[in-house]
Symmetry: none
Subunit: 264 residues, 2 copies
DNA sequence: GCGTCACGTTGCATATTACGCAACATGTGC
DNA sequence: GCACATGTTGCGTAATATGCAACGTGACGC
């Protein structure tokens, strides 16, 4: 057998189990493509079809992936959701924020997200949809740059100026014509967020997407998370954003209170 | 090496990758215990500590698990959330519910409907007829007020009291002499639905129409949809409703499981 | 309706890879 | 400070995962 070195992805520390590593890669490939066949997977891994088939088959027996029909393509399975449930169960922020986020979703009819700072990006931990009918997009687990979202700007607002500069020193991608990538401009915006206690962002990440965010703080006044209400611009209009903003700020204060924060 | 036969858990179809299977077991063990050490894991798998250590280490490198401190115990990682986000993104209530709804239609001989909450009304997404002979009515695409149907009451049962009041604050039409329009009365009924886990409604929307509904839930225990069995009262009698109720609740649990819900 | 193709699956032989062992770190409690 | 428990790491062995090739199946096109 000849194995291609340098999978480019994971530098195995010392003793790493190859097939397990490949299994995880397979899960990520399927997560990225949504639906993947054995041949595609094998090509991506650089292994023989049979190898991919066997690993996928193992994952299927354990419910982490499912196949459409017999001998069909593979997709992620419900076993993942059970694991995810156990994951969020240990996250304090999700536990404390969820009931309040649900209420906020009911009140606004829009989608609520909870994000935290993680390695210079906004990591989305939880999402509650206002209208269960059409799950527009699921951000959970995604890492989004800080400069293009309201959550990101709120999370930045909890940092020192030096911290902000550090967080923004990577390349800032442009997503739409409205994306702000100038550091001075961003610093000004973050200062405004600090003053206002919330952040409103329109069309900066996706055209047609409007979002408003507020900080969740702990007893030391640190910003530990950001919570947002977001929806399509045609529905989530200025007036509604303004109404949602007040509810959101109150909800964020409620959650903050659960972490020992007190208004001063 | 001596491997213990009969892992008792998974009967490997034909070619199954042992270490991948073990990795999944490890994830499940950690999910169950919340926090697990290498020694515990090794004992549970019936393998040597070193084996468990290496697999866990691989999972850690890929973000599926994390360890508390250096050389600490392991817990599930945030990488799981990325996969989960991709999983829920593809989940579609109609698609997941349809095979189970079809089976339920065959078992009961009556009509099955699936509805979700949408802007303060029940939006009917799918319908499966038991006996094609008398195609009663096609509800798909219709929006029905929440107070007059069993599906509506189930959907209300997933909301907070404030949310229920908001949803009911519009004018509540009277369809038949049996339609309930009193808010306190409806609140009591919804509380009963929460307790019972299902809703039975007779003649409230149309005289001669009997329906029983049960909630479909996700991993967070949110009510994401309602599924119903309904038929004409002269045929869908009390006894039959009672029998259908048990099948329905089981079917709803099946669908819920597909969204990561677990009985607790 | 038949031939061709593409795809997923499965015996089998090989040797690569994962395993158990034992020794080594590193805390932790008595 | 000693004994213990726990997580990690070389090392040699062989069990296990892999590639190969053949098979089963379904889809498409001629």
């Amino acid at each position: 057998m000849s194995y291609s070195f340098g999978m480019g992805n994971s530098e195995t520390h010392s003793g790493s189990v190859q097939s397990v590593d490949r299994a995880v890669t397979i899960l990520e490939v399927i997560a990225r493509t949504g639906l993947a066949g054995v041949t595609d997977i094998a090509a991506e891994l650089g292994v023989h079809k049979s190898t991919a088939s066997r690993i996928v088959s193992t994952l299927e027996a354990r419910g982490l992936v499912e196949q459409d029909q017999h001998r069909g393509k593979y997709r992620l399975g419900l076993g993942i959701l059970r694991l995810a449930g156990a994951t969020t169960a240990r996250l304090d922020i999700v536990q404390e924020a969820r009931p309040i986020a649900k209420r906020l979703a009911e009140q606004t009819g829009e989608t609520i997200n909870v994000a935290v700072l993680s390695d210079g990006a906004a990591l989305y931990l939880d999402q509650v949809s206002g209208n269960a009918s059409v799950q527009s997009h699921n951000w959970v687990g995604q890492r989004i740059p800080l400069h293009a979202t309201s959550n990101g700007k709120v999370l930045l607002s909890g940092l020192s100026e030096a911290g902000i500069r550090t967080a923004l020193e990577t390349k800032l991608p442009t997503y739409t014509p409205h994306t702000v990538t100038s550091i001075p401009h961003l610093l000004t915006e973050v200062a405004e967020v600090v003053a206002a206690g919330h952040s409103i962002v329109i069309d900066e990440l996706e055209v047609g997407l409007t979002a408003v965010s507020a900080p969740v703080r702990n007893a030391h006044d640190d910003v530990i998370a950001s919570i947002s209400v977001s929806g399509p611009g045609f529905r989530f209009t200025n007036t509604k954003v303004d109404a949602a903003k007040d509810l959101l700020v109150a909800a964020a204060a409620d959650i903050s209170a659960r972490f020992g924060w007190r208004e001063h």
